[in-house]
């Protein structure tokens, strides 16, 4: 069997937990050689490794599709759940209800999220469930052989010549509209940015939506495609350069004043945004919406951290659950004593 996941680039042999990158790998990928999804898996491996996450704490959730298969190809020491088409959000929510200590990473496709799954996407975002929600966006249904998905751009063409006559759904736009708290767009061909965004997402407390252009080399990588590697490379406009600075590292003043912006995330770590053309403030929802509107109207492929609200309470916070994961509660905390039943029964007499 070929092994194609996760050739993690030069890095320390072990992370602060003493684990090697190998401990973060999964089964060999069975995706097409060159599929964008495999590139994303590699960056996931790297991000979890670099962020010193204990693999057993992670739950990997997905729907159905080529993209949704990928949780088998990273973090082999984490529980995974490849569920049903379009329903990853409810599965992630249920898992987090049962065990709030889990670190949930959900992988979905554009078909899985924007078509059949858009309802669950909306409600997950609205709830701000702690979850890294990765959309591996290739504008087509890979696994069912290349039909257009709802993120395909208007007038995009398939290799067969088929034209998409419907406007695309902008998942980042939707997410911000719905009050999402961490919204980013990235590109499987931009590993550096992606790993920073993933590490930022790991440091974030609520839902982190990452809409990642992830070319389908088999069905949507032809000249003229607006989801191909070439298109991505030619059109990517990062809105800033991103560095992730863990809490335990000192933030060094490395850039000139006004050249960068630091946003502190929920766990105390920082995202450093190095200014490019403009000074973009991702904590400003209005600015985010304007930027996205501009991108939508002018078909610009803006990548980076579009919006972040580090402090909004998560769904789990609003539920006021006890600290112990519900899954770990022993019988004495789950089953009220006989006296309670007696009292209740008495109230029905």
């Amino acid at each position: 069997m070929r092994k194609r996941t996760a050739r993690v680039r030069r890095r320390p042999r072990a992370n602060r937990l003493g684990l090697s990158a190998r401990d973060y790998r999964g089964k060999p990928s069975t995706l097409c050689k060159g599929c964008g999804h495999d590139a994303i898996s590699s960056q996931l491996i790297r991000a979890f490794f670099e962020s010193d996450i204990r693999p057993h704490q992670v739950a990997k959730l997905s729907g159905i599709g080529c993209s949704s298969k990928t949780p088998a190809y990273f973090l082999g020491q984490s529980h995974g759940f490849n569920s049903v088409h379009g329903r990853m959000p409810s599965v992630a929510t249920g898992a987090m209800l049962a065990n709030r200590k889990l670190i949930a990473v959900g992988v979905s496709g554009d078909g899985d999220t924007a078509s059949i799954g858009i309802g669950q996407f909306v409600h997950l975002v609205r709830r701000n469930v702690p979850l890294i929600y990765i959309v591996e966006n290739n504008g087509v249904y890979g696994l069912t052989k290349g039909q257009f998905s709802a993120t395909a751009d208007e007038n995009a063409k398939l290799r067969s010549g088929e034209v998409n006559r419907l406007p695309n759904i902008d998942l980042c736009g939707m997410a911000v509209e719905l009050g999402a708290t961490y919204v980013a767009r990235s590109f499987a061909g931009d590993p550096k940015q992606l790993v920073a965004l993933l590490r930022g997402a790991l440091a974030h407390s609520g839902t982190a939506v990452l809409d990642i252009l992830s070319p389908c080399v088999t069905f949507n990588n032809h000249p003229g495609s607006t989801k191909s590697y070439t298109w991505g490379k030619d059109n990517e406009e990062p809105i800033h350069l991103l560095d992730f600075v863990p809490e335990f590292e000192q933030i060094e003043v490395e850039y000139e004043e006004g050249q960068s912006r630091d946003v502190q995330l929920h766990d105390g770590s920082w995202i450093r945004l190095r200014k490019l053309d403009q000074d973009y403030d991702p904590t400003n929802r209005r600015a985010a919406r304007e930027l996205m509107l501009d991108a939508q109207e002018n078909n610009r492929f803006l990548t980076g951290l579009l919006y972040v609200d580090p402090d909004k309470p998560t769904f789990l916070d609003t539920l006021e659950m006890t600290d112990t994961p519900l899954a770990h509660l022993e019988e004495s905390r789950l089953r009220p004593p006989p006296e309670a039943l007696d009292r209740i029964v008495a109230s029905y007499q």
Binding site: T93, G94, A98, L102, Q120, H328, Q349
Partner: protein, 617 residues
Amino acid sequence: MSNSSALAEAASPEVRERPIVNDLTIQVATVNGSGSQSSNLVLLRSLFRMGIPVGGKNLFPSNIAGLPTWFTIRANRDGWVARRRRVDYLVALNPQTAARDVRGLEPGAVVVYQAGMRLERQRDDLVFYPAPLQDLAGEITREVRLRKLLANMVYVGVLGELLSIAPEAVDASIAAQFRGKKTAIALNHRAVRIGARYVRENLRKRDPHTVAPMDRNEGKILIDGNAAAALGAMFGGASVATWYPITPSSSLVEQLEKFLRRHRREEDGKSTFAVVQAEDELAAVGMALAAGWAGARAMTATSGPGISLMSEFVGLGYYAEIPAVIWNIQRVGPSTGLPTRTAQGDVLSTYALSHGDTRHVCLLPASTAECFEFGWRAFDYAERLQTPVFVLSDLDLGMNIWATDPFQYPDRPMDRGKVLTAEDLRRTGSFQRYADVDGDGIPWRTLPGTDHPAAAYFTRGSGHDESAEYTESEEAYVRVMERLARKFETARSILPEPVIHAADPPSEIGIIGFGTSDPAIEEARVTLREQAGIEVDYLRLRALPLSPRVLDFVAGRRTVVVMDQNRDAQLLQLLRAEFGDRLPAGVLKSLRHFNGLPLDARTVSDFIAAMDLGVGA
């Protein structure tokens, strides 16, 4: 043996002249949203407090206000509380339906009504008691809304006086109903007294019905099945409940949440549970399954359309072997159907829910006590068997009010099933998620978050082998599917056995039923025995897959009636599909009742009495 086609209902009065004590059906015909529910509950509870067996059934429309509603109270000294067709006392408050309601009464019945409605002109074979309910309530208040509400309590007073209901019982019931609200209690007391006074001063008792104290309710409680189910779930350690509102299941989770808030908050105010209103049933069941996967005691509750929507996810639960409890409070289908009427119409579709070869464990409660018991046991079965477990209740059981002995606190610790901890793994080094280690078809699992490098496995609804690896291997697929079939046989052996009532020696005639058919069947058995000399043995199913005891029950009998509250004789189909040739030919007879009303005893007794009972009869 008699072939009479219309036996009377059990213990029904033959002689009108003698007083008829503690055998009475009261029906209050009103309009929903008019606030008569409190009065009806006070009436019900008053009889209950007098120690008389009672039950209350609310026949309400699928809307919020302004449409006809009938609340029926049956009080019966012998304990029969199934629906009864005959109404003895009609309280006719709804001008929309009064004429029809009166038309439907049997001769000798009583009508209590708002004076001025002129119902007395309609028939001369009934006893009419008009009362100016509104005016009487007007003695208390001129405020329109309040007066309307109090008029309802006036009829309680009227009935109380006419039927000799103990005033202390009424007072106590009012106090219970308006718990703590002093003014409300006082106003309602007054309304009741005004009603009673009106009767004493203006009406002459002309009917034989009356009630008298008994002692049949010692220690008993009055409760609806959904509340009982919720309590059972709480004492079963429910920790995650996800749901989407739908009649008649909403009140299960709504009451569960109330109980949990009261009894499952810890000292620091934090909860040991999560109740989540999902965006729809697909999400509700997805959350529940994932929570079960991650180790919570997870449940959801729904009805008809919700069951259909859960279909895909439930197949995943079956094949990936995930515990969760799903209450199906059945209502009348197909489609939206009659959302406020009762049925047992989802037996087949729930048992085999989802595409492909799927089968599900179903528990079949027949009483509020069983709602409670299955409420906690369902989690044990789900975690033991690692599969979605359905509990098939129905609207009649779930939303109507039943008297019951207090619930039995669970008699055993929770069964959390085969879960390997990190410690276990440190001992064993590894595990295979889907291997049949113990020969019972049930594999071992680990929970996400287990701190051991070998703990993780990958859950999927696609083809997998014993190690939970993806595979398209024919052999692995067949092995897993056959193990699942074996697991289902294990389920068959551990689920609640049927309850069998058989004469000694056994009767040649039997009946098989489940769920809310129970009270009507029991009543019919007595009627048949007492009035027609027909002894009917009875097997009540309590779970699917079917117990082999059904075969023993059928074997050797001449006729076994299969009672179905659905059009398609679903239970009969299931018996035939599953037992096939093992069933003797010509023995099973189908009795179907599917008009949305709870089953009544006469439907059963008339059917059996009219059967050609064959040789020698």
